[in-house]
Symmetry: C2
Subunit: 246 residues, 2 copies
């Protein structure tokens, strides 16, 4: 009986070249996981992630599925997987899914968080997970800009993806900016995200927060469908994939 | 004008051999800091920590003072220090203190936190800062044991320090056990802590939590003044020095 297994995975992206498998030697999450499952089950295994995370991006709840003939009970499988994974990757949940379930094709939405540490004082415990910004940011202006971004739009201005036939229309359900001392957390929830989309949205918001861009210029920016005039691509390390919704 | 400078410091202890300077090559916080200050000021500098932290122990608020002839303004000094420190050590506050201030001799108390991650599922983001324990722990029994430990006692049973003339009497003001999902945080506040004291108190509490030790056996354990019968020494990585009180 071939089973379809869903794993919910955590990883610290710092030392990896992202989710997607590349040529060997392979420093990708997908590569590490496939090699391990192959050893564990003695069969070749292909894993499907809900989406690629870039090099340096972290995950609290990446969803991954794969098919296996293995008859190993699930709790044992989870513990074997964690035993062999490096300590900056972990499987935190395991579930058997219907035969046709696919973690990318069936994902209804995702939530990302981008962390910013403001001020000139470093934070040793957050250095891997937050972007340091020295200037004071205007949070209200960023909230105003964010309110223009929420909704269904063509986000072509906000992706590094090359020209293609695929739709660049996405629905952003929420951008929430949470202040907690020197930490700013930007939560993005939507039905799907284009290549680099969260990081370019973040760059645009930070330019607004620094007073370099008018919050009310966003609609114009969306309409332009032109990557050149949107904000900069912020570093990957502040970004964490929080959850995938099915 | 010789100044007496207080630094509040953060560090991730993972890759260090503790606070206290040793022979070179020096992987200690004190060693790194002294070498840097010497370069920065062109004079030999001795730094005084509020106490030694063991290899692997972290700090959110270690207090450190040193004397210098430097006339560098303090904000500039803080930023220069952080510029040269490795990224797992940081100075988060700087203050000029009276000539005779000494961060160890004038410390009135300290607060430590020990983190435990319960269950069989790893947590990638806490692996450096929490001890993993698979068994379910009896928190109420640990709270009962902790209540026996609070107060002024001879903590000779709870230190690895060799026989000496120094007093082993300390006052524990509070042990608070906080549950947050799978994370248990043990907060220890007191006027001072003996060598390995928090880690042996923790080992004793965990043995109570596992049902291996009666919570009401604590008074007997204190009276025995015998390290042999107290709990095990828990790993350093779960321990963080939170604050030093003056």
């Amino acid at each position: 009986m071939r089973k379809n297994i869903l794993l919910i995975m955590q990883y610290e992206g710092t030392r990896y070249h992202g989710w997607q498998k590349q040529t060997s030697p392979d420093y990708t999450i997908q590569g590490k996981l496939e090699a391990l499952l192959e050893k564990l089950f003695g069969e070749s295994v292909q894993v499907y992630g809900s989406g690629r995370t870039d090099a340096g991006v972290h995950a609290m709840g990446q969803a991954v599925n794969f098919h296996t003939e293995s008859r190993m009970p699930l709790p044992e499988m989870l513990s074997a997987i964690n035993h062999y994974l490096p300590d900056d990757i972990a499987a935190v949940e395991i579930r058997e899914m219907p035969e046709r379930f696919h973690s990318r094709l069936h994902a209804k939405g995702k939530c990302y968080c981008y962390q910013v540490l403001t001020g000139t004082v470093p934070d040793v415990f957050r250095r891997r997970y937050a972007l340091e910004i020295e200037e004071k940011l205007d949070v209200e202006a960023m909230r105003k800009a964010a309110s223009w971004l929420v909704g269904e739009h063509d986000f072509k201005s906000f992706t590094s993806a090359k020209k293609g036939k695929k739709s660049t229309i996405r629905r952003l359900d929420e951008i929430r900016i949470e202040e907690s001392g020197k930490i700013l957390r930007f939560w993005f929830r939507g039905d799907g995200f284009l290549y680099h989309m969260v990081r370019i949205l973040m760059g645009t918001l930070l330019e607004v927060g620094r007073g370099e861009r008018d919050p009310d210029s966003i609609p114009e920016l969306i309409n332009a469908r032109n990557r050149e005039i949107a904000g900069y691509l912020v570093p990957a390390k502040g970004l964490t994939l929080i959850e995938v919704y099915f």
